[in-house]
């Protein structure tokens, strides 16, 4: 995942939301698996990149 590649630690998808449900794009979102997500990441205390 890009966040890890950039040096973030503890990257974790915490929660998913069906944020397009009921919109005109619901079908497209279903087709491609588009969902809202909550993601946690932390910058390390020591940042040697």
């Amino acid at each position: 995942m890009l966040l890890g590649h950039l040096g973030f630690d503890e990257v974790d998808v915490k929660e998913r939301f069906d944020c397009f449900r009921g919109t005109s794009k619901e079908g497209v979102a279903r087709k491609y698996g588009v969902v809202g997500v909550n993601v946690y990441a932390r910058k390390p205390l020591s940042t040697v990149r």
Binding site: L2, L3, H5, L6, G7, F8, K14, E15, F17, D18, C19, F20, R21, G22, T23, S24, K25, V28, Y32, G33, V34, V35, G36, V37, N38, V39, Y40, A41, R42, K43, P44, L45, S46, T47
Partner: protein, 204 residues
């Protein structure tokens, strides 16, 4: 997985389209859009605290167009400095300002003057003296390096043409040990070049 836009995507047109759409969300939030807006959506579909939203200025919450809920990821500690990338009309920004309290700071960054103006007005109306809104771009944040404890963002960074640059900016401004509470959309399947080249699908 692709992290940058196709080489022939017109990023200037993409930026103009994004500005146009979110200017309209700021001024006509009840208009016709492909995404939900407003506090009822936020409470019912994204698990925001309906009571907390009811205490915020309606002009701000009506223009909320996030896709997740950064406030559920981790608590923000009193006294912390928080940056909200793409703060829009200020709903998440004001919730962050209330969480960190008067000893903390909440700095909103938005590329759309109409949204930034709404956020400033809303924070003033709510009496939040610890809020500052800066006009700026996620690709080059107007924030000093290693100066903030928490970065939040909600439904914004997916619109940037170069994710590595945008996330690199988040990394740059966070203090060591700082937290990134990130809400956005993800796609479960790799998209074709033709889809990724279609600005209408980027913006709606």
């Amino acid at each position: 997985m692709a992290h940058t836009c196709p080489v022939d995507l017109d990023t200037l047109r993409l930026r103009a389209e994004i500005e146009s759409i979110y200017r309209r969300v700021a001024t006509e939030p009840s208009g016709d859009f492909h995404f939900h807006r407003g506090p009822t959506y936020a409470a019912e579909m994204l698990d925001y605290d309906a009571g907390a939203l009811a205490r915020l200025p309606a002009d701000s919450t009506a223009s909320f167009a996030g896709v997740a809920n950064p406030h559920r990821i981790a608590p923000m500690t009193a006294g912390a400095t928080v940056v909200d990338i793409g703060c829009g009309a200020g709903m998440d920004l004001m919730l962050a300002a209330e969480a960190v309290g008067p000893g903390g700071r909440a700095i909103g960054v938005d590329m759309t003057e109409a949204m930034a103006g709404r956020a400033r007005t809303a924070a003033k109306s709510r009496g939040l003296d610890n809020v500052e809104v800066r006009l700026g771009d996620a690709m080059s944040l107007p924030v000093d390096s290693e100066s903030v404890d928490v970065v939040i963002s909600n439904g914004v960074l997916n619109l940037t043409p170069d994710k590595e640059q945008a996330f690199g900016e988040v990394f740059r401004i966070l203090k060591p040990g700082g937290q990134f509470l990130y809400g956005d959309i993800v796609v479960a399947t790799e998209l074709s070049e033709s889809i990724r080249r279609n600005i209408d699908l980027w913006t709606g």
